[in-house]
Symmetry: C2
Amino acid sequence: MPPRYTEDPTPAEWKILSLVWDEGPLAARDVLSSLEGETDWSTSTVKTLLRRLVDKGHLRTRKVGNSFLYSASKSPLRSLRRAGEDLLGRASGATVAPLLAHLVKNSGLDSAELENLRALIDRLAKEAEA
Amino acid sequence: MPPRYTEDPTPAEWKILSLVWDEGPLAARDVLSSLEGETDWSTSTVKTLLRRLVDKGHLRTRKVGNSFLYSASKSPLRSLRRAGEDLLGRASGATVAPLLAHLVKNSGLDSAELENLRALIDRLAKEAEA
DNA sequence: AGAGGTCGTCTACCTTTGTAGACAGTCGTC
DNA sequence: GACGACTGTCTACAAAGGTAGACGACCTCT
């Protein structure tokens, strides 16, 4: 495979990336301490992953003192949608529906979110009839 | 990272795997011809990927003449759900709902499937109230 | 039986990913 | 202004993933 232009995060990178998404701009040391207990990555490992995420364009840095603050450089939703589309692309016609059902079931949406989703489905259903 | 026990398919492997899911038991040569136009993988490449999928336990083989028929060895839905859970795990609380909305919108479900999904949501909403 | 085609296996090689040590710059503090 | 604590960069290396050639086993037609 010649060079890949998608630059999607790898599993290890996803871990760091979603952490940064969740906890706003973080310094390397914050990422490290947030990971404590979850992984046993060394300082170096985390710094490498952060650097690679910057190289791939997922994170940006802002210099503060002698260190960096890392923050998302693309909208999280955009990256997630991309990954989601890959997933859907792997499901065949017959598995798409049960897959979505499973995801909805396990997503822990609250009442309001469920309500919105139902509204969306109603809209789609109306279109599908036409 | 010590040996990984998940043995999830890689992107290239997914391509082959979902092809086999879709088109039932296939011989290597069928996979090859189905991929024509989509990728320009050589015979060897495809055979390597098939073998790796077998090694990882995603495909099983049945000998027929001097060749193999490859078919799924786990339920496709199961593998997809696993991948779906990874995806959800990467989304933070706030992004889960919009992500699901996007997926539903792009999933091309037909009326009946939408109906089922709505029924599921109604059930979940009822539980959420309690 | 021999030739030609097909098949899977072996082996290989480069890139990416996972993981981390060594080290030099910098910042605060005594 | 020197010391210690941190920080990011460089370098490294093994494992996984992507890609494919070489080759011997096997079938099939003549």
